[in-house]
Symmetry: C2
Subunit: 390 residues, 2 copies
């Protein structure tokens, strides 16, 4: 007899599902019934893992010795990541500051668990990636959202941080490039945000999961502006390794040993197979693959952005990174859910309703991912045009 008396934690009640999941279920139904669905809701590159990474993993598997690594990651990989910061950004980041994690999710979990006491407040922009606020909740912290619209490139301002700060504020979380908006934080702005947070004794957490995927702007890192930030990165997006679940966290000097205790209990360690594979991700041959893919994303963006604007979608700030367009739908539909359902039912196009990303004007937005080829993006635009005209 199934039990009905097992109470879940308040934490679990407070954590919402992704609304896009309902849409995905509907799109699978439609596909099962023979409909062609163009997927513009997917937050992962459509490309496979680059060949040199696959080869490195296969070579490693041939040894058969897939044992645990240290809780902070293999020394060779931590050194390779440190060299990446030196080669690409001219920064001297000691390998001892780098914690290899099971995906960027693991990095975010470590940072928040290490820095959050119950009732502590984290500032973050609204809209934001939903896991950010849910992981704060998971460790009994609270989120104070900073409403961020197109006029401020959907990023918080130093003035907002200043006026929102309270006794319990622990710090500020930002993302550059941002999911869902694809917007960046300019280095000078980042520095101003970091200075404000530091002045108040807080911590800055910067999500750089989409680092490297920028268009018309060089990739950058917050570490160039704020050496005391906690910086989260990932092998998933620019490096094309989503399903491997590997990311990293850069912490200030001397902090990794403290974090290691937490990493051991949370994860033991990140996947050894993924770590060996990732050693190949920085090779010149592999970087050439990553850059070719970046060029392809850039071309897609250059097709999709003007086409959406021509249809009446508002894009106040041109997204310069990631692979998302966060489009204002006010001139087209009463709210994002209505439009998302029309698009899936009538146009066979799946996109993510803004309500997955927060509350501030989120009903007025929809997120399109250009994680599918240009021919499909053009077909999607044509179908959406038909629906909006109809």
């Amino acid at each position: 007899m199934p039990r009905t008396d097992l109470p879940f934690s308040r934490r679990l009640h407070d954590i919402e599902p992704f609304h896009v999941m309902e849409l995905l279920r509907r799109s699978r139904e439609l596909e099962a019934a023979g409909r062609d669905i163009i997927h513009m809701e997917v937050g992962e590159p459509d490309f496979g893992t680059p060949e040199p990474i696959l080869e490195a993993a296969t070579r490693f598997l041939a040894t058969g010795n897939v044992h645990y690594t240290s809780g902070l990651g293999m020394p060779a990989l931590r050194e390779a990541i440190a060299r990446f910061y030196a080669d690409r950004f001219g920064l001297d980041i000691a390998p001892e500051r780098i914690v290899v994690t099971p995906g960027a999710s693991g990095a975010l979990m470590l940072a928040l668990a290490a820095l959050t006491d119950p009732g502590d407040v984290w500032l973050m922009p609204d809209p934001t990636y939903p896991s950010n606020r849910h992981l704060v909740r998971a460790f009994e912290g609270r989120v104070r959202a900073l409403p961020s619209d197109a006029a401020q490139a959907y990023q918080p301002t130093a003035a907002q941080v200043e006026s929102a700060w309270c006794d319990r504020t622990r710090g500020l979380m930002v993302a550059s490039p941002s999911n869902p908006t694809g917007t960046l934080i300019a280095p000078a702005t980042l520095r101003a945000l970091a200075d404000g947070v530091r002045r108040r004794g807080g911590t800055l957490i910067v999500d750089e999961i989409y680092q490297g995927l920028t268009y018309g702007v060089a990739a950058s890192t917050a570490l160039a502006e704020a050496d005391d930030a906690f910086v989260i990165n990932s092998f998933s997006k620019y490096f094309g390794m989503t399903g491997w679940r590997l990311g990293w966290l850069v912490v200030p000097d001397g902090f990794a040993r403290e974090i290691e205790r937490l990493a051991q209990h949370f994860f033991i360690a990140a996947s050894t197979v993924a770590q060996h594979a990732a050693l190949a991700a920085f090779s010149p041959a592999c970087m050439a693959v990553h850059e070719a893919r970046r060029a392809e994303f850039s071309a897609r963006r250059n097709v999709l952005l003007p086409a959406l604007e021509a249809l009446g979608f508002g894009v106040g700030t041109a997204p310069e990174g990631a692979f998302y367009i966060y489009a204002d739908i006010r001139s087209l539909a009463p709210d994002c859910e209505t439009l998302a359902h029309r698009l899936i039912e009538d146009a066979g196009v799946a996109a993510t309703p803004g309500i997955d990303f927060g509350e501030f004007r989120c009903r007025e937005h929809i997120r399109f991912a250009y994680t599918t080829g240009i021919d499909r993006l053009e077909a999607a635009v044509e179908r959406i045009a038909g629906v909006l005209r109809g």
Copy 2:
């Protein structure tokens, strides 16, 4: 200039390092100086990953499509795990009840995050695997330890659970086979524990990470006795996949959809490479490898157990599972740290001091792992004998 004002959470202050890490550092120093160290502190099988699993992973990598899976895991793997329960234990566990996780650590984290509110109390035996109490702490719960000695096979009794239960008690966590003690919970005892917990409206979490590694006793699962338990399992130990980081959680009927929300935010999903590899772990060829290794562990235990007893180590209850002997050292040394240091310095043998596992008589115990070959175990016994005689 490095900042010194970044406060870590109280959670991080409360979470202890593994004491064995200091010993490991010392053993690396000794090895660097040319000393031969016999490692009996290591909690992972010395065997590599079985060939059929490596082959399945290599075949999958050849496709290049290493994308995210569903947050609950690949349907094919969830079905394979369900078939494993049917084939091995004659149990009908619906695949919908199985959550594939990044290691058993991920499974434990999901269960505790889903079930623990701040201040909630979990009962567990002392000694226990240290991450159990630290993960309860991570989610702001509290642990009430149930002192468990050799006379009760280092496992809690129903009477202890009854007398320790309070208003805030959320449930009971047990492990069978147990780390560090290698002892099992007999099915009838498990049923009595489960009945007691259920009567009080609590939840039973059972760690079956070492399931399959039993000697002279058939493997069993708590699900045969308590269908409403949360059961944690792992591909690491019996299946030989430590470095892949893959485990699973079985939840009561209808609960997986709730857990999925948490899994998505914590992990997105478990490693896709590991999931494809694990599909091969249940094949007859692979099960034959697992069973051959079990026979080898059994042979090692049969050598080590009487040899340690002959040296004066106390083993009140013969361990019947895992690959550990939790030995009482009272007749040999004043406390576990003193002995562990003598063993590493004078005998070149690394073992884990009991204080890593709790407080109750833990200073009087040391854990030996038989994760190295019989020749090395025999050499270790000889060296230890020399030191104890000396």
